[in-house]
Amino acid sequence: MRNSFANAFHDLAKNDRRIYLVVADITAAAGVASFQKESPERFLNVGVAEQMMIGMCAGLALRGCIPFAYTIATFTIYRPFEQVRVDCCYQNLPVKLVGVGGGVNYSTLGSTHHASEDVAIMSVLPNMTVLAPCDPAETAVVTKACVEKVPGPVYLRLGKAGEPDLTSKADPFEFGKLRFIKPGNDVCLLSYGPLTKMAFDVAERIEAKTGKSVAIVSVHSLKPLDEIGVAQILARFPVVAVIEEHAPYGGLGPRVKAIACDTGARCAVRAYALKDEFLHTYGSHADLLKAHGLDPDRISGELIQLLATRK
């Protein structure tokens, strides 16, 4: 995802001199290195000074530039939260905040480096758009959408590296709309970010054991959320589940449940998220997700039982 972002950013910035990259001592992959080499004056490293990174981006934006701020998600938005809120959102400026390693992706670094509440915190800010592509290909189109489709501030939540392709057979990408990346009729799984891979693991298990078909939807835009699309899914599928790498409060799960309530949906809705805990366990990303209860065996088991009761 980092590579894909870097390449897409490079493509954008090559042809648009309004675009800058402001980093706080962390940078992305080869694409950024090329940009840095070609346009060193538009690559700004302020050092380990994230408040400065965001404030400076807002200043650039006040002069007509389109700056991307880039570092690990926690440092992009938690440390300089007030600069994000006041400088970027209150003034409604085109600052694009890129957070690498959203959720618990930096699994061995501990909770200091985990952005597991980021979607909630960014979604509550007026004027903010919150985007979380599911794979490298979607990262490329969403990165471009940050400039081409959104005039104001954006929080772009990225994974890290090595995410598999999930969208080669997907419906075409339409910015801001739910995207079916796997067809199905009996269960619909909504997810975003790299965790969408787990939705495929869950779907595979359900289909193998029940013969039912499971659809998967990538929710790349968490704010604005395609509420009509969500309502249609709630009306169409007997079982709908959200699987998200995020705290249980303020993410996609509660939103989908609220829409189900508002629209009088008759389907079963389940939400799977991280625990409301700082875990002191370490290991691979998958290990941490499992420790949080995000485990394909557990989720598929529960949904298979649920399907049985819906007959």
Binding site: G47, M56, D87
Partner: protein, 273 residues
């Protein structure tokens, strides 16, 4: 050499008028930061009336950021004097349906950034100055800050970055009134003082003057080398011009009652003579 258009005596008269204007408005609306506006009044007035290039194209004229947003009444008086905002704006400050608040709000005529939370303005200025440099525009950015504001870590991030990025077109004016909400700034964190050496150590050109004396402010800014970003520390008095307000913390936010108003109006006539 003094700018012939900037008359120091006129500046004094103007600032007396602004003090009266702020006192008048304080009788209409309750909460107005009178004392912190009075302390930065000459800094704001000298920047606008004496120092800034405001002619012609907004793309080339200088920029003003009131990083100590609570000094907004001082800024509003100047904007009113220049005809950038109508008099009805200030007369209806903080009222529903009118645009002026206690703190400057981006989008209001003459307001270049939303401020009010301390420690934001200088980083914004660095971003603006960098963009200007990239766009080949040699315009200056004036930033008025409070001395309490310099306790914010974000200010020191901006102080650190600006000279390293080759920024020279920022002129920060620090309103050193030695007061913050809970008391004297120099007694809150005594080891932070003196300030000037610390600013210089971060790569800024720095000077200190009487922050109520337009000529001193003007001469110091005009006399800068232009090789580095410049910070002027203006020694000021919080509540300047009204004896019972001067250096009395409660006047950070309080409005005078009718009797106090009469005394204040009388006293500001003799201010800065």
């Amino acid at each position: 050499m003094a700018n012939p258009r900037f008359d120091f005596n006129e500046a004094k008269q103007r600032c007396r008028k602004f003090r009266r204007r702020i006192l008048d408005i304080s009788q209409e609306v309750g909460a107005l930061h009178i004392a912190p506006s009075f302390s930065c009044l000459e800094l704001v007035d000298t920047a606008y009336m004496g120092l800034m290039n405001r002619a012609g194209n907004p793309d080339t004229s200088d920029t003003f950021l009131l990083s100590k947003g609570h000094g907004a009444p001082a800024l509003y008086c100047v904007l009113e004097e220049l005809g950038i905002i109508p008099r009805t704006y200030l007369e209806n400050i903080c009222k529903p349906g009118w645009p002026l608040a206690t703190h400057p709000d981006y989008g209001t005529p003459g307001i270049e950034a939303s401020t009010g939370s301390l420690g934001h303005g200088l980083a914004l200025a660095v971003g603006m100055a960098y963009a200007d440099k990239m766009h080949g525009k040699a315009r200056d950015i004036y930033v008025v800050m409070s001395d309490g504001e310099l306790q914010e870590g974000s200010v020191w991030e901006a102080l650190m970055v600006a000279p390293s990025f080759g920024i020279t077109h920022i002129i920060a004016l620090v309103d050193l009134n030695d007061f913050q909400s809970l008391g004297q700034t120099s007694k809150t964190l005594p080891n932070f003082y003196p300030m000037l050496d610390k600013l210089r150590a971060f790569g800024w050109e720095a000077a200190e003057v009487d922050g109520h004396d337009a000529k001193s402010i003007y001469d110091a800014v005009k006399g800068r080398s232009g090789q580095k970003p410049f910070v002027l520390v203006g020694r000021t008095t919080k509540g300047k011009g009204v004896s019972y307000m001067e250096n009395v913390p409660i006047w950070h936010y309080r409005a005078p009652n009718a009797e106090e108003y009469k005394i204040a109006i009388k006293e500001v006539e003799g201010c800065c003579l």
